[in-house]
Symmetry: C2
Subunit: 523 residues, 2 copies
């Protein structure tokens, strides 16, 4: 392990270590060239743009919106004092909500305390809460935690079956607009399950939504237990430091104020530090350098802690939805993006690390190392002088070295320990890095125009379904092609809808399996 | 939705539908050209190579091994009757084991039946069982199911804390060699937890391992409840149809014979069918065409069922560990691979589908559609005439259409329902597709030489740790650089080990956080 290169000195040059929040970015194996004057100027310009965004500029011009997720950690910085006051009011409301549930003054219909929390949401309204609960909660949260994040009836059934007592479950419905179909369906299925058990859904429901949304109106009309505000100027994937993340944390007994403080401390650092000493700027620079500013290499996120298994999925959403854009801000087609995937070390050493070392050089690795083992059999030796945690850290170092040996770049984020403040800092770091990278490649990181087409097409499928069911009344057996002609639809789309209806015994009977030959009748 | 192209006829041409196992591969949006005579000849050659592999050829020459996972579903086809007999004997043993646990003749020390199953394994020894349990078990398995698949002490602690009663938990230790560090550590931690509760670990432990391994010897020496065989000719990532997958299925009350039968039926199809009508051959052909035979596009796996969320991780391991290779079989550097990632639809529509539609065209999608909703609120309407399941299927169709509109290829596997036979068929399909693709690009799909380097480097880290702890005895405060010189190690490696020891209070005290300035003493 001796070497002629002074690796310690190299590491010291490429290490950015903060005291508060305590976190280190280790770029010793990132294979970066020192940014030159022009590079640093570009990064400085990106930092300045982020400062304008924080000051309330319309950073999301397509939707005519400000981008305010940084204010959530520092309400005093909000450009409009009313916004700052609203944020602080939401904190008080979250505190009160959690206190009432804890004290039992907000309780189940039978007067018993709530024992479980069921979150209904999708995308940014589920993944952030899932991440923080898993990373910080583990086996010991104040309430059991369950999530409905899809419209799969089988999955909904399964989640509801796992809840020990629906009667003692507080239901948190999270939707900015209130019109997200999956979330609406989850809510309706939970309400139906409550009704089937003779429970009043409204008496155990809380909404997190934008004031004035359909969901807010429904919650007020039906007398839900609380409505906690979200805001138009917070995107779903940036919302974990809003009530979306904080309310579940508070209800689960996790330290959401420390989480916010960690994020605020990271904001302060990444807002002020010069580019070469700025964690977010150097992270964005790594992404830029590795991918030639075009995302040509994927980021493989490998946290070495079981509790951070969801981090890669969280970053996948944050990064890919923000950066995966067809047009730049000048309206030119750029087809940008930065692919993110990963699970956890050292488990993934036994899955795809074979390809990372021996296969395509189309990625760079982002390791996450937590120095202190958390609660557990910390001192127990599995070999003389060696613990399970030593092995975990050894595998991190070994995998990193094995990739470096093959010229595959990596960066490591080092946390002294995994706690609420560290997780908040981590999230704020990635939020800023995404914003800076978007400035470097000139895309709007704060909209998601590409998801609309799929929703519109799905809506057309449901519309076609209704027309087909109507067309089947009192008719002879017909082929998909005949039925398509009757309702004026594409024959293939018709076939796809009909076979799904038939498979689910939804009043349609199918004879035969060939797309031309099969005949459909009303069942 | 009307169109001048006859999409139904196009779909019919690009659809391969089987009756048994009931599964359809829909390539209508795969943007494939008809394979020409030369293409079909290549695929036929690949199929012939797979036939030789099934007949017992040494298909893994680096390790001098046969590759026999197909025999696991059809023991009569094993080239050596003794192998076939061993497979069938393992089935009987699995049946007996499960029957004894079910009847209570194999019970906890207090005579009560086992209520939970704790699997200790990693990679192929964990991911397959996790997938089948999640896809088929859901909320209602015969035993509660828990998995230790890492050496994170915090994660181990958390999993053990979730188990209602360790005394009533059967522990299944799965390791081919018995020397996998993570699995050994998991086993030792569970044994220590048993000891702490006054439980005899051996009396509730079962091993699955290669006869003659160190683990087999230990289990026999200590009197574990059973040792079920694995074999050298089954790779970990191909082992879910061996005892690795079947024993957990049997213990959880899942229909492992139907699972095997589904796999066998898919084997029969993919073994015999001519390339253009062969699901595995056309799937491999899609991979080849989309990635130019170099994996230039990632496969995004999107199952539209919550229970199949782990499928993408399973395929990630199967595909990337098999195909991510530096050398082809002629010894030429090829740096091959095929990246796989994904989670589930429609959830991921709210995460990275933005990039799939609007961003980099560096992927193709593999959708998985299950026609029949499983148990659940199937008939419940969320809009007039529309169920949650209709919405799920509509989102699948919508996302597929939105990607097709942008020229991004997709394929869809359609299952009438998700059951054990369908899952077995699905797994067998991918196993054959991986083998065929490896033939097309001429790599050995059955070894994993790239994972060794990381293990060796990790071992060196643990060795350095021991030397450093010894060197710290009775000495003045020293820097990492000084200690490195003393033990003859690299100063950076020394620093990394020391700070981990210090963070975990492992007899090392650290003063200061600068890599050159910090001083270490014995605590």
């Amino acid at each position: 392990m001796t070497t002629s290169v002074d690796r310690l000195a190299h590491y010291r040059r490429w290490r950015i270590a903060l005291d508060a929040p305590a976190i280190e970015l280790d770029l010793a194996d990132a294979r970066l060239a020192e940014p030159d004057v022009a590079d640093l100027a570009r990064l400085q310009i990106a930092l300045a743009a982020m400062a304008r965004l924080e000051a309330g500029a319309i950073a999301n011009p397509d939707e005519g919106r400000q981008v305010g997720h940084f204010w959530l950690r520092a309400p005093a910085l909000a450009p409009d004092p009313a916004i700052g006051a609203a944020i602080e009011a939401s904190w008080r409301q979250i505190d009160e909500l959690a206190a009432h549930v804890r004290s039992g003054s907000l309780a189940a219909a039978d007067g018993e305390p709530f024992r479980d929390l069921l979150l209904v949401g999708i995308g940014g309204s589920a993944l952030g809460p899932l991440l923080v609960a898993d990373a910080l909660g583990g086996e010991s949260t104040a309430l059991g935690f369950h999530v409905l994040d899809n419209t799969d009836p089988t999955g909904i059934h399964r989640t509801l079956a796992r809840i020990p007592s629906l009667a003692h479950t507080l239901v948190l419905v999270i939707s900015k607009s209130g019109s997200t179909v999956e979330t609406r369906n989850g809510m309706l299925e939970v309400a139906a399950a409550c009704q089937a058990q003779g429970l009043a859904f409204a008496a155990q429901a809380v909404a997190i939504t934008v004031p004035g949304s359909g969901l807010a109106a429904q919650a007020e009309r039906e007398g839900w237990r609380a409505v906690v505000p979200m805001w138009e100027w917070v995107g779903g994937r940036f919302s974990v430091t809003a009530a979306v993340g904080l309310a579940p944390m508070a209800l689960l007994g996790l330290d959401w104020r420390a989480f916010l403080a960690g994020a605020a401390a990271m904001d302060a650092h990444t807002r002020e530090a010069p580019p070469r000493h700025n964690l977010a700027a150097m992270l964005a620079w790594l992404w830029y350098a590795e991918g030639q500013g075009r995302g040509e290499r994927a980021m493989v996120a490998l946290p070495y802690r079981d509790g951070l298994t969801l981090l890669a999925r969280y970053l996948q959403q944050l990064v890919m939805e923000s950066l995966g854009k067809r047009l730049d801000r000048q309206g030119r087609e750029v087809w940008q993006g930065l692919t993110v995937y990963g699970n956890k070390g050292s488990t993934d050493q036994h899955a795809y690390v074979q390809q990372l070392r021996d296969g395509r050089h189309d990625f760079f690795a982002l390791f996450l190392r937590v120095l202190a083992d958390g609660p557990g059999p910390v001192g127990h030796e599995v070999e003389p002088g060696v613990t399970s945690g030593d092995c975990l850290d050894g595998f991190y170092q070994g995998t990193r070295a094995a990739l470096a040996e093959r010229g595959r770049a990596s960066a490591t984020l080092v946390l002294p320990r995994l706690d609420a403040a560290a997780l908040g800092a981590l999230i704020a770091l990635f939020e800023r890095a995404v914003g800076l990278y978007a400035e470097l490649v000139d895309v709007n990181a704060y909209h998601q125009p590409g998801v609309e087409a799929g929703k519109v097409a799905a809506r057309a499928v449901l519309d076609l379904q209704r027309r087909l069911v109507a067309a089947l009344v009192d008719r002879e057996p017909q082929s998909a092609r005949e039925l398509a002609a009757r309702v004026g639809a594409d024959p293939l789309a018709t076939w796809q809808v009909l076979r799904s209806l038939a498979a689910n015994h939804r009043g349609v009977r199918q004879e035969g399996d060939d797309p031309e030959e099969a005949r459909f009748t009303r069942a």
